[in-house]
């Protein structure tokens, strides 16, 4: 019996038993819609938690920590260029990106345009290799070390505030005005008080968390301080280009670096999940230079953490093991990511299991229905055998009918699950804002659609297997006497 004939006869049979099939299909629809709903929810939550809050395709290595019970202190090997090379050699590691924090105090002020008044704050900052975040930035070229030597053939090829001299971009001299903190530098360059030269603002990036935290919590709190009026929520587009002045080597907390403080301007050029959670992140070369100036040579050579980008998410556990065997620890963010991934996987599995139990019950129902159907069609099956149906033809006919219920039930189930997710998303728009509130709580990658229909078909076919086998084994000469 060829496929065309099979589908023809199956369609004829399903058409006449619409009521029975609708009843059986209903169970499948309920089971599959639940299955798809929870899988979609799990994927959506996973995307937010592991894609925005904790990153799972990278491992952040820190020096080994020792927990005495009273306090935790770092020890073990210092993270330097030798360690970077060593970690780069671990199998499964695609690339290695060292991170270095400011090892001196810094304070910042500015923000009048954005917040309506000047804001002073203690600043936390770190630096990383721009290559680590180039995919996160719309224009990666703006996140670079402007102090690096730049060759040129004409002035126009140099950044603002520089001229092309002897094939290299050199900073222009300027008149610094103490009263306005400004000078006569062109474009976005500014006059630095210490060098009296035009400097480009240091490009910095911020973490998506920071914006989420501000919009989800701080905006309300700061608005309250202004007399109850809420402050505007900030979007990325609004804050990109925001500038702030830093006084490096000074602190509001009374501690200062030994070297003379420096004033530099920073400019926000983008957002990335690899940026420091609360603070700002700049190209590594700036941090290295500042650390050398304010904290000495060792501070300029020692990294605070090293990010390992893993080529395949499934290899993260073996990379983690190699890191631990090498005498290093994982940053809290990595451990949290692992923990979060496990929790999500567990919750997702439990829900998927519950849904599969529902589908399984539906399959039992389908099995019973087919036993009833083959009892009713006993003589008919005998007739089919008489006109040339083999045992396998009979098997395929019954299982084909079951598969059709699976396809139809599965498709409606998937659509019902998806519809349910849209409803929840719609209702969620009425919930108050909170950090990381996603536009949708669900994600439906193509495999969920395929799995939904595929599992429906599989369970229906499994449910119909024994009835189909019973029908096929029926003696046609006996069946014809019924």
């Amino acid at each position: 019996m060829n496929f065309k004939a099979l589908t023809h006869v199956v369609a004829q049979n399903v058409k006449r038993s619409k009521k029975s099939f609708l009843m059986s299909g209903f169970g499948i629809i309920v089971g599959i819609s639940t299955f798809v709903f929870f899988l979609g929810l799990g994927e959506g939550v996973r995307n937010v938690v592991l894609g925005e809050i904790f990153l799972v395709d990278q491992v952040e290595v820190v020096p080994k920590r020792f927990d005495t019970g009273f306090t935790v202190f770092s020890g073990g090997r210092t993270l330097d260029d030798t360690v970077v090379e060593e970690l780069n050699g671990i199998e499964g590691v695609e690339s290695v990106f060292p991170k270095m924090k400011f090892t001196f105090p810094t304070r910042g002020y500015g923000g009048k345009k954005l917040f309506g008044r000047q804001i002073w704050a203690e600043i936390i900052a770190d630096g990383l290799d721009p290559a680590l975040v180039e995919k996160d930035l719309s224009d990666p070229s703006v996140f670079q070390d402007w102090e690096a030597t730049q060759t040129c053939s004409e002035d126009a090829a140099c950044p603002a505030g520089r001229r092309c001299t002897n094939g290299q971009c050199t900073k222009m001299t300027c008149q610094y005005r103490e009263q306005t903190y400004l000078g006569d530098c062109p474009g976005e360059s500014y006059c630095a008080a210490d060098t009296k030269r035009c400097e480009m603002p240091i490009p910095v990036i911020a973490s998506n968390h920071l914006l989420e935290l501000y919009n989800g919590s701080l905006a309300t709190a700061l608005g309250g301080a202004k007399g109850g009026a809420k402050m505007l929520k900030l979007s990325k587009a609004t804050v990109i280009g925001f500038q702030l002045n830093l006084t490096l080597g000074k602190s509001f907390l009374g501690r200062a670096a030994k070297s003379k403080p420096l004033t530099r301007r920073v400019k926000l050029v983008g957002f990335s999940d690899k940026a420091i959670m609360v603070g700002m992140t700049m190209p590594l070369a700036y941090v290295r230079r500042f650390n050398q100036r304010f904290a000495g040579d060792d501070a300029a050579k020692t990294y605070h953490s090293i990010v390992l980008k893993v080529d395949d998410q499934t290899r993260v556990p073996e990379v983690v093991q190699a890191v631990k065997e090498g005498g290093f620890d994982l940053a809290d963010s990595t451990e949290n990511a692992e923990r979060a991934a496990n929790i999500i996987r567990t919750v997702e599995s439990v829900f998927a299991l519950i849904s599969l139990v529902i589908v399984g019950i539906a399959a039992v129902n389908i099995s019973q229905m087919f036993f009833m159907i083959i009892y009713q069609r006993k003589r008919e099956i005998g007739v089919l055998r008489a006109v040339g149906a083999s045992r396998n033809d009979v098997r395929f006919l019954i299982m084909g009918e079951a598969a059709l219920i699976g396809v139809v039930g599965g498709t409606f189930g998937v659509l019902a699950g998806y519809g349910g997710s849209r409803l929840i998303d719609y209702l969620a728009t009425h919930l108050p804002e909170f950090p990381y509130k996603p536009e949708s709580f669900f994600a439906f990658p193509p495999w969920i659609w395929v799995a939904g229909v595929g599992i429906a078909v599989l369970f229906c076919v499994i449910g119909a297997f024994f009835p189909a086998d019973t029908a096929a084994r029926q003696d046609p000469s006996v069946a014809l006497t019924q």
Partner: protein, 226 residues
């Protein structure tokens, strides 16, 4: 040629020694019109099922057109039934959810080789030949007994088989309609079909060219081909 040699058949659950067929031997030549007659329970239908390959749990040998049925696999046997044998049953055995045309075309769906046959055209032709050209799209529920039986005959003739096996084909019909059906079989035999009819009706056995008498599972007369 059909040759049955020492066929014995005992149904599951039957008492020891209680056989439906007890060493039956029979020969039927191609083109014959044979009526197998006997009382109810004498083993007529069992013998027909054995010849048609619907029942394979017996001892002895059944050879139909040179093929020993017991040696065929289930698939081969199905193909054999599909192409070489047409069955006509007492209660018509039509599928109620299908039209006359769809019922007649049913064997087409199980054919391994269809030789480019257009099932609709073939079924239409078969029904028209039997005088049912106006009933092609009627369901069995809307047909009379005689019409139903002619649809069943058209289905049996779909692949122009070499052998027609008919189990009490007039048993559910009134006298006049039964006569018409008998005439149909006579015509088919005249066209070259080998017809084997099981009956206990005298009018049917009169139409046959040879009578095979079966009693208590044994052929008592007419076993040898003329």
């Amino acid at each position: 040629m059909i040759r049955i040699t020492d066929v014995r058949k005992r149904y599951d659950g039957a008492a020891p020694g209680e056989e439906a067929l007890r060493g039956c031997s029979l020969e039927i030549q191609e083109g014959e019109f044979v009526a197998i007659v006997g009382t109810s329970g004498s083993g007529k239908t069992t013998l027909l099922n054995v010849i048609g390959g619907l029942d394979t749990s017996y001892s002895g040998t059944v050879e139909v057109f040179g093929r020993t049925l017991k040696t065929l696999s289930d698939g081969e046997l199905a193909t054999f039934r599909n192409g070489q044998i047409g069955f006509v049953f007492q209660h018509f055995s039509l599928l109620d959810h299908l039209t006359a045309l769809e019922n007649v075309a049913l064997p087409f769906h199980f054919a391994r080789e269809t030789h480019g046959i257009d099932p609709i055209a073939r079924a239409t032709e078969a029904l028209t030949d039997l005088g049912l050209g106006a009933k092609l799209n009627e369901r069995p529920g809307n047909l009379s007994g005689g019409q139903k039986q002619r649809v069943a005959i058209a289905r049996a003739l779909f692949f122009k088989p070499r052998l027609l096996l008919c189990d009490e084909p007039t048993g559910s019909l009134d006298t006049k309609t039964g006569e018409q059906i008998i005439q149909t079989f006579e015509q088919l035999n005249a066209d070259g079909y080998t017809v084997v009819i099981i009956t206990h009706e005298a009018r049917v056995s009169r139409a046959a060219k040879r009578l095979v008498q079966i009693e208590d599972g044994q052929i008592v007369s007419g076993e040898a081909a003329p």
